[in-house]
């Protein structure tokens, strides 16, 4: 009975403490699960951080691994979601020679059509930023590659869920216990 491997987004709400990333990554490592992308930042709750981690695993694996995260003392709650259950984005940045902007008018069309933002322009280079799904950023990269990209970087996925996650309520309940 082989289960489907899916792209899943794992959200982990945590205390903002040193060393936690170590614990979390160790849990993936022990189970030989490769992390596709990882973002960590503050969350909507003050003093609470959120990890957003994308992995390709089965839902059974996801359930077990979420249990292991929740077991960590400093993890408040962990969840996993399918793509359909989330709204998600990535962001890519492209550094390109300024000269090209004038020599290759096609670039200007690409910028316009792809809704890409110009972050900065100077004499040597200009920088573009594009947020969206992975494939949108990748398609832009393909288009620009023809002309030459000096630097490219893409962020990990950030995601919010369509359903609510009751972390705030949980914390309130604790504080009033």
């Amino acid at each position: 009975m082989k289960e489907d491997i899916k792209t899943l987004t794992i959200s982990i709400y945590t205390e903002n403490n040193i060393g936690l990333l170590n614990r979390i990554s160790a849990i993936f490592q022990r189970r030989h699960i490769n992390i596709e992308s990882l973002t960590t930042s503050q969350s909507e709750i003050e003093g609470v951080n959120r990890f957003v981690i994308v992995v390709n695993i089965s839902e059974t694996q996801a359930k077990k691994i979420v249990g292991q995260f929740e077991k960590q003392v400093e993890v408040i709650r962990a969840y996993y979601h399918t793509d359909e259950e989330t709204i998600y984005q990535e962001s890519g940045m492209f550094k390109i020679k300024s000269a090209l902007l004038f020599e290759e008018p096609q670039i200007q069309n690409i910028i316009k059509e792809s809704n890409t933002r110009i972050v900065t322009v100077n004499k040597e280079f200009f920088v573009l930023e594009k947020s969206g799904r992975r494939n949108e950023i990748e398609s832009l990269r393909r288009d620009l590659n023809v002309f030459g990209i000096m630097q490219f970087v893409r962020s990990g996925r950030i995601a919010v869920t369509k359903d609510e996650m009751k972390v705030t309520e949980m914390l309130l309940a604790f504080n009033n216990q």
Binding site: T14, E15, N17, I18, G19, N22, R23, A26, R30, G47, K63, K64, G67, Q68, E70, K71, V73, E74, V75, I76, L171, F174, N175, Q177
Partner: protein, 577 residues
């Protein structure tokens, strides 16, 4: 730190006092009720040792001969007392020497707090003398760990450490404290930790789940219980017994669950797992409801998961939600503290007895007795067996001793044949299988429960892994009884070589030293037995001794432990020979 630890305000605000970080460490330990700690000094922890000197009347420090010994002693202390064991070491090699014991405590859920010294905080990350990243190294084997770089953090972090180590599913915690934090002064006050917002140690028992469990049990024709250490950690022995007796359920135990119910109880059907008893292993694949209590379906217990109890509805009682469905899919999960869950289950159970089902266990016991047990405990061949040594110990201690076993054949024999009348009497390294565990663990156990007879059962291999702790026994005058079952082999590995590697005994034969002379070198009374006629008398003399005593028994070199489930096989394929 302050956002996450909720402190219930005490009626009287704690007074503050200006003291150093190291004095604060000792004061915190005293506040947590620590009266014994095991450790080994060195540069980065010296200020704390200096304070210990001052507080000698309040805290007894036991100098082990190796830091690994300190952790195992702390584990032995914790396992027999249910309290938190404490171990301390210096930075670098001192700290890394703790790792085996910490890993052992983690997998066996033993409450332990380890304190390590660390280099000055301005040197962190600079490859300073005796600097290791012990927080990084210990992360995967601790329940929680933390590095303190400021004296003022010490009380809160240590309070948290003790709370985390002992609450919920217990485990080891490591606190690493830089030398500057030890020597600088701050205003000390101590408040115990009573809660951490991101941590729910004991999930509430869901009454619906208890009801569902009761219904399944009441309807069962062939129910079987397998309990584990969760019962002992949750101090639910009375509740377990009540449930077993009311519902008349044949009940088996995992290696770490041993002693929670007296061996002689009529519904106690023995040990499950790789070298467990024949009946409970075999009938796991025939019961209709399998009730797992405070156990985690370790692979040594289940054998092949593909064939494990497939016919049964499974009820799983556990405090740790991450254990549910981890290895075995459950039909009813009762998450919570075992004492509480079993107490709630009891009134919902129908009074029952499953005579013919219980008879099936008794019949298979007879088969095991004829084929295995008889030859183990009442052998007719010339060579001594490990089983008969255990039998003699049972006779002399009347089943009231705490048995501390090491890892190997003798461990399985000890767990199979020791009589346990009293709970928390089986102290062994279950999950990690750490050779070298028993000698130092016995020290800790005896110091925590001086009124109890503590007998360590050790193989000639494992004994030599921590043999230096004889020095600790001698210096501390701990009256533990040490039995080395000497087969001149790494017996358990040799057994595997015999059965699965065509008798190629690669590096398992041991040429041993004069163990009696070594014990005597540490001024410990010692005796060696090579003939059956001497055994009873020697064991009697050992148990009668008021001091520590070393007994070497030369046993048959190539005996095997049966029953056995070969690894990866099904529990019902348990072999008797």
């Amino acid at each position: 730190m302050d956002t996450q630890t909720v402190k219930k305000t005490k009626e009287v605000a704690a007074k503050t006092e200006r003291i150093t970080g190291s004095e604060a460490i000792i004061r915190c330990l005293i506040e947590e009720g620590v009266d014994i700690l095991y450790g080994y000094p060195g540069g980065a922890i010296m200020p704390v040792y200096d304070e210990l000197y001052k507080y000698q009347d309040k805290i007894h420090h036991v100098l082990t001969r190796h830091e690994q010994g300190a952790t195992h002693a702390a584990q032995g202390y914790a396992r027999i007392s249910g309290k938190v064991g404490v171990a301390m070491a210096t930075s670098g090699p001192g700290a890394t020497n703790l790792i085996t014991g910490i890993a052992d405590a983690q997998i066996d859920s033993t409450p332990m707090v380890c304190i390590t010294g660390q280099v000055f905080s301005h040197l962190l990350g600079s490859d300073a003398f005796q600097e290791t990243d012990i927080v990084g190294i210990s992360t995967p084997v601790t329940k929680w760990n933390h590095q303190v770089t400021k004296a003022s953090e010490i009380p809160e972090v240590l309070a948290k450490a003790f709370y985390i180590a002992k609450s919920g599913r217990p485990g080891p915690v490591l606190v690493d404290i830089t030398k500057d934090a030890q020597v600088s002064e701050f205003d000390f006050k101590y408040e115990k930790c009573t809660g951490i917002r991101s941590y729910i140690p004991v999930p509430k028992t869901n009454p619906e789940a208890v009801k569902a469990a009761a219904e399944l049990i009441n309807a069962a024709k062939k129910p079987m219980i397998v309990w584990g250490q969760g019962v002992i950690l949750g101090e639910a022995e009375k509740e377990l017994k009540a449930v077993i007796e009311k519902a008349g359920i044949p009940s088996a135990w995992t290696i770490l669950g041993a002693s929670a119910l007296p061996t002689s109880h009529p519904l106690n059907i023995g040990m499950v797992g790789m070298h467990g008893n024949y009946a409970p292993n075999k009938l796991t694949n025939e019961c209709d409801v399998l009730i797992a209590i405070g156990m985690r379906f370790d692979d040594r217990v289940t054998g092949s998961l593909d064939t494990y109890a497939k016919q049964a509805k499974v009820i799983h009682f556990d405090i740790d939600p991450a254990e549910i469905d981890k290895n075995v899919k459950t039909d009813v999960a009762v998450i919570g503290d075992s004492k509480d869950s079993l107490a709630k289950l009891l009134p919902l159970l129908n009074k029952n007895s499953h005579e013919s089902w219980l008879q099936e266990f008794k019949d298979l016991y007879e088969v095991e007795y004829e084929k295995v047990i008889k030859n183990d405990i009442s052998p007719t061949k010339e060579g001594l067996t490990m089983g008969e040594v255990l039998k003699q110990i049972n006779i002399e201690t009347k089943g009231n001793a705490a048995i501390v076993s090491d890892v190997g054949q003798h461990q399985m024999i000890a767990c199979r044949y020791a009589d346990f009348n009293i709970t928390k009497s089986n102290i062994t390294s279950g999950g990690l299988g750490t050779m070298g565990f028993a000698l130092p663990a016995a020290i800790g156990a005896k110091m925590a429960a001086p009124e109890r007879e503590v007998v360590a059962i050790i193989g000639d291999g494992g004994y030599q892994m921590t043999i230096q702790e004889l020095g600790t026994i001698f210096q501390q005058q701990v009256p533990v009884k040490i039995v080395v079952l000497n087969n001149e082999f790494l017996g358990m590995v040799r057994q595997w070589q015999q059965l699965f590697f065509d008798k190629r005994y690669a590096s398992t034969e041991m040429t041993n030293p004069n163990f009696v002379a070594i014990a005597e070198g540490y001024y410990i009374k010692a005796r060696k037995v090579v003939k059956r006629e001497e055994l009873a008398d020697a064991v009697k003399e050992m148990i009668a001794s008021k001091e520590s005593y070393f007994l070497e028994v030369c046993v048959e070199k190539e005996d095997n432990v049966f029953p056995m489930i070969p690894s990866g096989a099904s529990v019902s394929d348990v072999r008797l020979s």
